[in-house]
Amino acid sequence: MPRNEKKDPKQESLERDIEAAVAEETGGLEPSEAEKIREKVRARVLEEVERERRIRTAAERRAEERRRREERRRERHPEEGEMFERFNRNFRFQHIVMFTSVILLVITGMPIKFPDFVLSHYLVALWGGIHNSTIVHRIGAGMLIYFMVHHLFYTVLSRRGRRDFVLLIPTPKDARDLMQNIRHLLGKTPEKPRFGRFSYLEKFDYWAVYWGCVIMIGSGLFLWFEMIVLKYFPKYVLDVAHEMHSDEAMLATLAIVIWHFYNVHFNPDRFPGTLMWWHGQISEHEIKDEHPLEYEEIMARRAKQTAEVPHP
């Protein structure tokens, strides 16, 4: 290493460690042989150290960028306060896969339900005819099935997934929250219901997707593999599957476009939309307003952690 004439103490101790380790192993060998091995080991170790340093600095650079962005955000929107992670990367990925597949499924499926609607012909022509459109529909179906499997594994295998699943189970508090929210919105009571990590609205959305996926994937697979189905079932089973697929598609689309979009994007607090599905962050302001119980929990956990860590 000609470039470090005056070796820093870290480097020197590293050199010494290599020397010692190599000397121990090559005790019985010729000195020239031992020298060769030592050189090899030294080059290898230094290369490894350099690589680690590079990775660390890249990670640090990203972290620095994030810090700077965060500072800029705080300057621009001081009212938002601290940002908390609401959806982790895995969860966001699942959501993106799901909505991409649902968009594909809706724009290729709805023209079949409403062939006389003016847009239907354009939507079919977009893919170059009904045959291609049905292929795109199956691609979307494949993505939705993948999402379902991914989510099941996520629920079972990941700690966050397991915790969220438990928090998503409906409880009597949700019914009380609903009643209180109605009374609050009507102006009968000044107190807003205090939601935890998931409010009853979000729980409804989650379980609606569960129900929708089961019905749509189940009936969709029947229609996809109609020849296998007809081997074992009479034709009217397929007709029932067709009816379910068509009707549940309508319900799901309406629920997404009207209910879900209003609650997450179009309500007056969020209009014209939120990017939470992309960055997964929720501001202190929002979390205090919408999930006060979760915020308190986070704060309590922090207080406990700082209490546990002994001050130096």
């Binding site: 023209p111 079949i112 062939p115 239907s120 012909h121 079919v124 005819g129 009904i130 045959h131 459109s133 049905t134 109605i182 609050h184 919105l185 009507l186 102006g187 000044p190 109609e226 020849m227 007809l230 081997k231 074992y232 079932f233 009479p234 034709k235 009217y236 007709d239 029932v240 067709h242 009816e243 379910m244 009707d247 549940e248 309508m250 319900l251 309406l254 629920a255 009207i258 209910w259 209003y262 609650n263 309500n267 007056p268 607090d269």
Partner: protein
């Protein structure tokens, strides 16, 4: 006796002379001259292929036809000397039947459609077997289509087409439409009912009324009409149920591979489902569906084919549809109510009310 003949001879001579004097002389004379040969019943020609060409034609040949008042040379205008040195050309109807003609011969744009049709283009390409006007409408015995004995009357037109399309005619004759027409049910379609009259195109031509994506529309001109179908106790819902099925929707979007009416019910050999020869007889359904869905089994025939989820007869399908109908209405009403409530509450808060 001789005196009588003489008197008759003078009378005829005067008559002829008078007619010649008062009316178009050459026309009369022409008919007289033509019938010198063509008036003999045995006047015929043996063609090179052994066929006999009957050349018998008298003044009575045109009787009852729309051209009753015409004479030979009005159509055979290329005949100028007797006996003809060359064989007279085929009659060209457009000699008179063009728009604005002086003869007063009927003419409409629909006749022009013939020239673009499969028959007209075949003629233009030099196919001598393709039909000209007179091949369908008759040569000397042309009558209006309304006339029962006309070759192109609804009852006779199938036979006329069948002179060339003989196999199809045999299929059609025993089909439900052919049988009905022969019983005198004039609502039943003949060839022209589906294929059109002058604008007949090949079924692979997108202009054709029986092109794959036009078949359903063509059948529904009658089968969607309650006034026609109620006479025979046939339901009209088949049209709507087909249009709502995947086959119908895909066909509407221009797919030529999905089933249309004819794919399952047959083309010229349509028979009622009770008929064991019918393609849609439950026994034959697996084979019929199997044309597109290889390996179709009797399960294909279990359950109604043209199923309407809005009718109670559909059983479980009806109840599924009903369940989802009320589920959707109920859920969406609740959700929309919540949305409006939310907007109301937020508006109050924005106004500063608590």
């Amino acid at each position: 006796m001789r005196g009588k003949f003489f008197a008759a001879g003078i009378f005829i001579a005067f008559g002829v002379a008078a007619q010649g004097f008062w009316s178009s002389a050459d026309a009369r004379i022409s008919l007289e001259k033509c019938t010198l040969c063509h008036g003999k019943p045995e006047f015929r020609k043996i063609l090179v292929d052994g066929k006999i060409r009957d050349l018998f034609a008298t003044g009575d040949s045109l009787k009852g036809s729309v051209h009753e008042k015409k004479t030979c040379v009005d159509c055979h205008f290329d005949v100028s000397e007797i006996p003809h040195r060359q064989r007279p050309k085929r009659v060209v109807c457009t000699h008179c039947h063009y728009k604005g003609n002086a003869e007063g011969a009927p003419q409409s744009d629909s006749y022009l459609e013939y020239f673009g049709s499969v028959h007209g283009t075949a003629i233009a390409k030099g196919n001598t077997k393709a039909p000209l006007c007179q091949d369908c409408h008759g040569d000397h015995s042309i009558r209006k289509a309304k006339d029962e004995v006309s070759a192109v009357s609804p009852r006779n037109v199938a036979e006329t087409c069948g002179r060339c399309h003989i196999e199809i005619y045999a299929q059609y004759k025993t089909s439900i439409h052919g049988v009905a027409l022969s019983k005198g049910i004039m609502d039943a379609p003949s060839c022209t009912g589906c294929h059109g009259e002058h604008k007949i195109y090949g079924h692979l031509d997108p202009k054709s009324s029986v092109y794959a994506t036009h078949v359903a529309e063509q059948c529904s001109t009658c089968h969607a009409s309650v006034t026609i179908m109620s006479k025979f106790g046939i339901e009209t819902e088949q049209v709507a149920t087909y249009k709502n099925s995947f086959h119908g929707v895909a066909s509407g979007f221009g797919s030529r591979t999905v089933a249309n009416c004819a794919s399952c019910h047959g083309i010229h050999d349509i028979r009622p489902p009770e008929d064991p020869l019918s393609m849609v007889n439950p026994k034959n359904v697996p084979a019929t569906c199997g044309k597109c869905h290889p390996g179709a089994n009797p399960n294909f025939a279990v359950g109604k084919m043209h199923v309407d989820a809005h009718k109670k007869e559909s059983g479980i399908i009806y109840y599924t549809a009903q369940f989802f109908k009320y589920l959707t209405i109920g859920t969406m009403l609740a959700l929309i109510a919540h949305i409006f409530l939310d907007m109301y509450g937020r508006t109050r808060r924005l106004r500063g009310e608590q």
